[in-house]
């Protein structure tokens, strides 16, 4: 049994964590002190200091929840100094369909020429945070974006063009209450398309994923598990197997992209 606690989270996140951990009663045991695992809220700008402090206190692993953008340099320094596994959770990355999508069709995804993403966001959060959600989604599904060549950021949404390992990438983010939290990603190749439709986080409604090619359309089996639950199971497995990897370096790279997008963006 692995003990777990939360730090620096708001009431809504605390309730989500309690509900999620309650579905893993033989794996996770909530505690109030000296946990093996820490769920660290990333909503405040001081999350890097909090994370470093928690690592120094001796937790065995940290899940960084929804980190707000901070300078990439800070995160890179943190990645170099922290020795415990750190898993970064952004809006869509916990969804178990993402890993299956990439694993199942990785070879074919390399042949894709264009990647298109449409993400619907609830209002309220700064655009930098929305971009980080989308960059981490793309990284998890098809690989890291390496360059941003166009960005238009606005009050109601944004559009962005970039490159991913030679592929053309187009992101469109929309602020709307209708379907908020849902995202669609499609990678188009010469004669096939891989697509993934992700539900809002927190629901056990399955993502839909498929490859459509000359021989037909193959759907990924539905997974009726919330992304958050799947992520906590994966984190626990990582601890059990002695994993030491950290997502912080990738997070720093994505924060660099966010900064690049903001620096060159049209504002409207």
């Amino acid at each position: 049994m692995t003990t777990v606690t939360a730090e620096n989270v708001d009431a809504g996140t605390a309730a989500d964590l309690t509900a999620t951990w309650a579905t893993l009663p033989r794996t996770l045991q909530p505690t109030t002190a000296g946990p093996d695992l820490l769920a660290l809220g990333g909503g405040s700008a001081d999350w890097p200091e909090r994370l470093a402090s928690a690592a120094a206190r001796g937790v065995r692993g940290i899940v960084l929840l929804d980190p707000s953008p901070v300078p990439a340099r800070t995160v890179r320094e943190l990645a170099a100094s922290v020795t415990v596994p750190v898993v970064v959770q952004t809006t869509w990355t916990p969804n178990p369909a993402l890993a299956q999508f990439r694993e199942r069709w990785a070879a074919a995804l390399n042949d894709a020429m264009t990647v298109r993403v449409v993400a619907r966001h609830a209002g309220g959060r700064p655009v930098e945070h929305l971009l980080l959600d989308e960059f981490t989604l793309v990284r998890a599904a098809v690989g890291a974006i390496t360059r941003v060549s166009f960005a238009r950021l606005g009050e109601h949404g944004h559009a962005l063009v970039g490159e991913l390992d030679g592929k053309f990438v187009h992101l469109q983010g929309v602020r709307t209450a209708v379907g908020a939290g849902e995202a669609r990603l499609a990678a188009l190749g010469a004669d096939q398309e891989h697509w993934l439709e992700l539900p809002a986080p927190g629901t056990a409604a399955p993502a839909r994923a498929a490859v459509s090619g000359p021989d037909g359309e193959q759907l990924l089996s539905p997974i009726h598990e919330t992304g958050r639950r799947a992520m906590w199971r994966a984190v626990h497995r990582q601890l059990e197997t002695g994993g030491t990897g950290t997502d912080l370096t990738a997070l720093a790279d994505d924060l660099d992209l966010v900064a690049a997008a903001v620096a060159q963006s049209l504002r409207c």
């Binding site: 020429m113 264009t114 298109r116 449409v118 619907r120 209002g123 166009f150 238009r152 606005g154 109601h156 949404g157 559009a159 063009v161 053309f168 187009h170 469109q172 929309v174 602020r175 709307t176 209450a177 209708v178 379907g179 499609a186 188009l188 190749g189 010469a190 004669d191 096939q192 398309e193 459509s212 090619g213 000359p214 037909g216 359309e217 049209l266 409207c268």
Partner: protein
């Protein structure tokens, strides 16, 4: 005199063979094809023979034929404007012009003047604007256009030949070599073609939310054939995406989003008679679906034309169709200018 409207075609290529002839075969109570003109005599003869019509190789033969009530302009796009004008001046009862209605603002202005003066009604073959799945949503959406802030038109399609072969047996024509898209001027030309031949299907729908093009912020050609345009108009933004591929699947969608409203429309592919689009209007509490209806936009545009000739009000006024083509041409011109500018830097 027959109560059915006599149709004369200018051009008898794949669109006529795979779309209009099969569609009019379903509307035999309203139309009969009387003349088919094509510059290639053999093509004109074979299509005419299929339709039980007379073959012709010149425009004059169609315009001078008193049995032709409706001129259907399906020639290459550079001829559309002059042929629309000629059909109006010939005193025909109506014109159906394939998209684009014109290729420049000046052409659009000339059409507006001639059609306005002669009173000949024009229907443009932007079939999605007539699609029952779209028009049913439009009739129900209330103040949606004022509330929308973001639009997306997405067209991902296999080659036309696939759908053409599912629609008819085309008369073979020599193929044209694919141009070298590494040449910046070729890419600029392809962007223009992408806007005026593919994106244009949905540009009237995009215009119903944006109203006008204020700025094209980004434009690029996508290999092997496609485009991405990121535009602004009237305080709103739109992403206009098109991509062709060698597979089988198609995705043809139009989305519009506001703070707490949305529209999602999924269209059936071109050429095939696969029924209407399905549109879904959404708000924070419910989603309302329109369609699928049995008729597609091609059939509906011909029905609209027949109704128009018999005195029904136009679904789209002359002002509207001129504004639609002006929107498309300005978008194409701005996109081409941007692609050229980018290629120089």
């Amino acid at each position: 005199m027959s109560s059915r409207l006599g149709v004369g075609f200018l051009g008898a290529g794949s669109v006529v063979q795979a779309i209009h002839v099969p569609t009019l075969a379903r509307l035999g109570d309203r139309f009969r094809i009387v003349t088919v003109m094509d510059s290639v005599a053999e093509v004109a003869a074979e299509v005419a023979d299929r339709a039980g019509a007379r073959a012709a190789t010149t425009v004059a033969e169609v315009l001078d034929d008193p049995a032709v009530d409706v001129v259907a302009i399906c020639s290459p796009q550079e001829f559309h404007a002059e042929q629309v004008e000629a059909a109006c001046l010939a005193g025909k009862r109506a014109v159906l012009c394939e998209k684009p209605l014109a290729t420049s603002r000046a052409e659009a202005e000339r059409i507006a003047e001639v059609a306005g003066r002669t009173g000949v009604p024009i229907v443009v073959g932007t079939m999605h604007a007539h699609d029952p799945g779209w028009t049913a949503a439009a009739e129900a959406w209330g103040d949606l256009p004022e509330r929308v802030h973001t639009v997306r038109s997405e067209i991902v399609l296999p080659p036309n030949s696939q759908f053409e072969n599912w629609s008819t047996e085309l008369i073979p024509r020599p193929g044209t070599p694919f141009p070298d898209t590494r040449d910046p001027e070729v890419r600029a030309a392809m962007i223009r073609m992408g806007v005026l031949a593919l994106a244009i299907h949905d540009l009237p729908l995009v215009r119903s939310f944006l109203g006008r093009v204020d700025e094209v912020d980004f434009a690029t050609f996508l290999d092997p054939f496609g485009y991405l345009l990121s535009i602004r108009g009237n305080g709103r933004t739109a992403e206009i995406v098109g991509a062709m591929h060698g597979g089988r699947h198609s995705r043809w969608t139009l989305d519009a989003w506001g703070e707490d409203v949305s529209l999602h429309t999924e269209f059936t592919p071109s050429f095939v008679s696969a029924g209407s689009a399905v549109s879904t209007l959404g708000d924070g509490h419910r989603r309302t679906r329109f369609g699928p209806f049995p008729r597609n936009g091609y059939e509906q545009e011909w029905r609209d034309l027949a109704d128009l000739v018999h005195g029904a009000p136009a679904r789209y006024s002359l002002d509207t169709i001129i504004a639609d083509i002006t929107f498309a041409v300005e978008l194409a011109d701005a996109a081409v200018a941007l692609v050229r500018k980018e290629s120089r830097t």
